[in-house]
């Protein structure tokens, strides 16, 4: 049997009605191990205007580099109570902020390790299908040999790497068009 996946449609302007119950801005509870970080940024449209009716979802491994998912068969520890999912609406001027722990490295293609990263879905009115991107971490030597980052033209890689702002706080913007346009993936 071979069916075709149902067509995606925009979330439209009233996404909060359906999504608010699961908003998760603090991805890691206090008892979860790992380096605590806060990530803040803005979601910007092609005019550089903040998108205040958008939302991002985050999926990540724990600090050992293990996903809380039955298909992650690695022999690394799971952390009780850590799902690794975040849902963060944008607010005035497109601003968003969330806290989590820095994930560990995870396996990539052909047995190569991937640098620590978050996978991110972007939803908003005006997007007929959500966008997929990734956020990598500043001052991380493993970025240099990450098998996904190396597929991105060198001049655009910085759009996927957060900037250190102050102790434990990082800045990462999602820019839909124009100068500094964020790299999006089609998996």
């Amino acid at each position: 049997m071979s069916l075709y996946a149902t067509g995606n449609q925009t979330v439209g302007p009233y996404l909060h009605i359906g999504f608010d119950w699961l908003v998760t801005r603090d991805i890691a509870a206090a008892n979860v191990g790992g380096e605590r970080i806060a990530i803040q940024g803005r979601l910007l449209d092609g005019d550089g205007v903040g998108v205040s009716d958008g939302l991002i979802e985050i999926w990540q491994a724990n600090s050992h580099g293990r996903y809380a998912h039955p298909e992650d068969g690695q022999k690394k520890p799971l952390e009780a109570g850590f799902r690794g999912f975040g849902r963060v609406p944008t607010e005035a001027k497109g601003a968003f902020r969330f806290t989590t722990i820095k994930p560990g490295g995870v396996p990539g293609p052909a047995g190569r390790e991937q640098a620590p990263h978050l996978v991110v879905s972007v939803f908003m009115r005006g997007l007929l299908k959500h966008l997929a991107t990734r956020m990598y971490f500043p001052d991380e030597p493993r970025n240099e040999r990450d098998p996904i980052l190396e597929l991105v033209p060198a001049v655009r890689r910085s759009t996927l790497i957060a900037r250190a702002k102050s102790d434990g706080v990082m800045e990462w913007n999602v820019i839909l068009q124009g100068e500094g346009e964020t790299v999006f993936f089609d998996f």
Partner: protein, 234 residues
Amino acid sequence: MTKLRRYRRPHPGTQPDYDYPPYASTAKRHPTQPLILPPQTLSELTGPIFGSDEVKPTDNDLTRQHKSAPIGERIFLSGRVLDENGRPVPHTLIEIWQANSAGRYPHPSDTHDAPLDPNFSGAGRTVTDAEGRYRFITIRPGEYPWRNHYNAWRPAHIHFSLFGPAFLTRMVTQMYFPGDALIPFDPMYTCIRDENARKRLISVFDWETTVPEQGLGYRFDVVLRGRDATPMEN
């Protein structure tokens, strides 16, 4: 190394393009640089799992969230969540949201001159059963105007959000009602080029979902991305 099977690429024409001028808001919100096509890794082949402990059994009934029943025509929705290989997707979260029967959302950005209904919030959720089946009880949403073009009206629709088993199976869609005269003029509907794929966004009137003396039933099956037959090294 674990062997994980990758997900199939979308069939041409069955998914919308990001840049679609008939839907004006795409103009400043679509990527202009080409998307990068990387291999699928463990990060995308996994995804959040939601348990039925987070969803109450009554969360699928949008007509019982307030003191009284909402105004409007009560309807029943049912369907199955399948993957592209025809296998049911069990125990997966579905979220829905919709306008009230007058075509108004209880949302600060909705300024349409139609009444709010204090007995209708318009959001529901459920988790599919072991065979991928789901059911919702709600009221038929109204059509409403929007400012996309002159005299633009959205057909009646219900937003559906699904996760499936992986980051790659995440999807959001809209369900339409059979016989709605506005459907062929709606840029959301026409953004999907393949006519058969488009039509599958329209629910089907269904006697088996219809409940005698209570309300009409509509059937809407959702297909999530399915996996390739061959495993990959990961």
